[in-house]
């Protein structure tokens, strides 16, 4: 029998899919913004550290699976940090959800080309009261260990974010990103041979459709194969996303509007579940691509290591020289 949280998640997912699905076929989705975003490039570097609260946050509607795939294809080694244990996500016991979701995180991130998953195992959906400076210390440690050029995470200022896991992991991360470079912060790490490290770039991502939505300042174009990796990466999370019953729910909803979709009628429930994920990820990538004037894209907010000094930006641009 499903617990409340699980059944709620399922119902939410069904509604969300139906909403997106109907949007795809009726040609409109609330909140679409058509302003053109500047195209971004993959910065020079070797290591990407992605920090998110949950198993599937690397690739969802607000995710960055395509961008991760693009970083890897550009030569980056990428690592995924899962801050929670995901015990609530799925229709199983807490322990079983944890084990299955971690395995599927490894499967999904491997499809994106990532090297490893580091799970911090903070209790899922209990992250509001945790000592956040302790989580931050763990992230500082990992930044010093892996020495990323690029850190990628959730937007700590996202409007109407109801899930404290997202808000708190994002807050811990945005501080860890710069404090890891300070030798006055957790000097005990240096006993292990670690050294301060300031990553050169921070990218953040939030939901597209909550409140004022994600305020992005860059769009990274995706290739067809990067979008396909993204679709396969989310489909790897079968414990949460494989839902043969979704077909029937959507058909019923469309029928009430006098509509039907032949592609959906022609497949069974298992196939329909995969098809819906394919459409979902493809639609999100196309929708963001429109903002950037390309076929597929993901949009992010980018900060570099000098952005916290807005008074020096123009001076640096005018006076910095390349080191030969």
């Amino acid at each position: 029998m499903l617990r409340y949280a699980d059944s709620f998640r399922m119902r939410l997912l069904l509604h969300l899919r139906a909403y997106l699905f109907i949007g795809i076929f009726t040609g409109g989705v609330a909140g679409q913004v058509q302003s053109r975003l500047p195209p971004g490039e993959i910065p020079a570097g070797k290591i990407l550290l992605v920090v998110q609260p949950h198993h599937d946050d690397h690739t969802t509607d607000y995710g960055m699976g395509g961008v991760i795939a693009r970083f890897v294809e550009s030569g980056y080694k990428a690592y995924y940090v899962r801050a929670s244990n995901d015990e609530k996500d799925g229709a199983n016991s807490y322990a079983r959800n944890d084990i299955i979701n971690l395995k599927e995180t490894r499967d999904g991130t491997r499809i994106l080309g990532m090297e490893d998953v580091i799970s911090l195992n903070w209790r899922n959906d209990f992250m509001n009261p945790i000592p956040l400076n302790e989580l931050r210390e763990q992230l500082i440690f990992l930044i010093r260990k892996y020495r990323p050029d690029v850190v990628l995470g959730h937007n700590p200022w996202e409007h109407y974010q109801k899930n404290p896991d997202h808000r708190n992991v994002a807050r811990a991360l945005v501080e860890a990103y710069w404090l890891a470079g300070y030798d006055t912060v957790h000097p005990e790490h240096f006993k292990l041979g670690l050294k301060p490290h300031a990553a050169a770039h921070f990218y953040e991502k939030g939901r597209l459709d909550w409140g004022l939505g994600q305020i992005s300042n860059v769009a990274l174009e995706l290739s067809e194969s990067q979008v396909q990796k993204k679709e396969r990466a989310i489909a790897a999370h079968r414990n949460v996303y494989h839902n043969p019953g979704a077909k029937r729910a959507i058909q019923d909803r469309l029928a009430a509007m006098g509509m039907h979709v032949p592609e959906l009628d022609a497949v069974n429930g298992d196939e329909a579940s995969d098809l819906l994920l394919h459409w979902w990820m493809n639609w999100v990538s196309r929708d963001i691509g429109k903002k950037a004037g390309v076929k597929y894209a993901e949009d992010l907010y980018h900060m570099d290591a000098q952005d916290h000094l807005p008074g020096l930006k123009a001076y640096i641009e005018a006076n910095a020289r390349r080191i030969p």
Partner: protein
């Protein structure tokens, strides 16, 4: 047109506040000085008295020093800088910087309520907790506590023991929310001027030199900034010629470039040469403009 007129009225209100007492609540020395040092100098220059409340101890912001030595040097330098801007008293809470989220919100808030009731300022400055993309979250925690303290200081049922002992409730009528200009939406007016602070720019052309001299006193922080900037540029294969040799004159020059650049960013589109920008809550915060007219 109406919006421009409204913003001009807000700008002009700075002069009205000059005669009162000002309390600045800050997370760290370098942050408030860069964001609000000119406006404070303008107020003290016009005869206002000012008090600075440092919540954090700035123990992290140095290059090659221990946290204890860093905190001591930053406190000494911060007090000297404050004096140069006409601030009469500096109160340091001494909480560990970059650990401020571990301080209970109500603890911080109640200490600030106490000081607001004791000093009874006409004007408050504090960090804007609603700013986005400011990676230093100390400003968020201090700003949230200060905003709460501003609101609660007016009600007698907060800190009842202090109320009973003669610290009467107090309403601060003007508030300047400061933050570095990093939020892409910082200049967008909110939906209503009532109960929501509005964007305002303050001309600091006449105070810039004084602000610069005060900022250059923060030698420990400035050296840290210069070395970290040099390091991050080198990591990206770049160099700033001014930082080839990081000595005092190079650091002073960098501080000047930073403050001039900041003042230029803040003055964009305002008609001022050098400015600071705030979110401002004045009379229209409490009373809708249509009733004022």
């Amino acid at each position: 047109m109406r919006r421009r007129l409204f913003l001009q009225i807000l700008s002009a209100s700075l002069a009205r506040a000059a005669a009162g007492k000002t309390v600045l609540i800050v997370a760290s020395d370098a942050g408030w000085l860069a964001c609000a040092g000119g406006a404070v100098a303008k107020m003290t220059g016009d005869g206002a008295s000012a008090i600075l409340v440092r919540v954090g101890n700035d123990e992290k912001e140095s290059w090659g020093l221990t946290p204890e030595e860093t905190a001591l040097r930053n406190r000494t330098e911060g007090e000297r800088a404050a004096k140069l801007l006409g601030i009469q008293e500096v109160i340091s809470f001494g909480y560990r910087s970059s650990e401020l989220r571990d301080v209970p919100h109500t603890t911080m808030r109640d200490r600030l309520i106490f000081l607001i009731r004791h000093h009874r300022p006409a004007v408050l400055f504090f960090p804007n907790p609603h700013t986005e993309q400011d990676r230093n979250l100390d400003r968020y925690y201090v700003g949230a506590a200060a905003e709460d303290a501003w609101h609660c200081a007016r009600f007698q049922n907060y800190l009842p023991a202090a109320s009973h002992s003669g610290l009467a409730p107090h309403i601060v009528s003007e508030v300047y929310y400061y933050s570095p200009p990093v939020d892409p939406r910082r200049r967008e007016p909110e939906s209503t001027a009532t109960f929501v602070p509005q964007p305002v720019r303050v001309d600091i052309g006449g105070q810039f030199e004084r602000k610069l001299r005060a900022a250059q006193v923060l030698r420990t922080v400035n050296r840290s900034t210069a070395m970290r900037l040099k390091q991050s540029l080198e990591a990206a294969g770049r160099r700033l010629p001014i930082l080839d040799v990081v000595d005092e004159s190079a650091i002073d020059k960098l501080v000047e470039e930073n403050l001039r650049g900041l003042a230029a960013v803040c003055s964009e589109g305002s008609g001022y040469q050098l400015a600071e920008e705030f979110r401002y809550a004045g009379i229209e915060y409490d009373i809708p403009a249509k009733y004022l007219r």
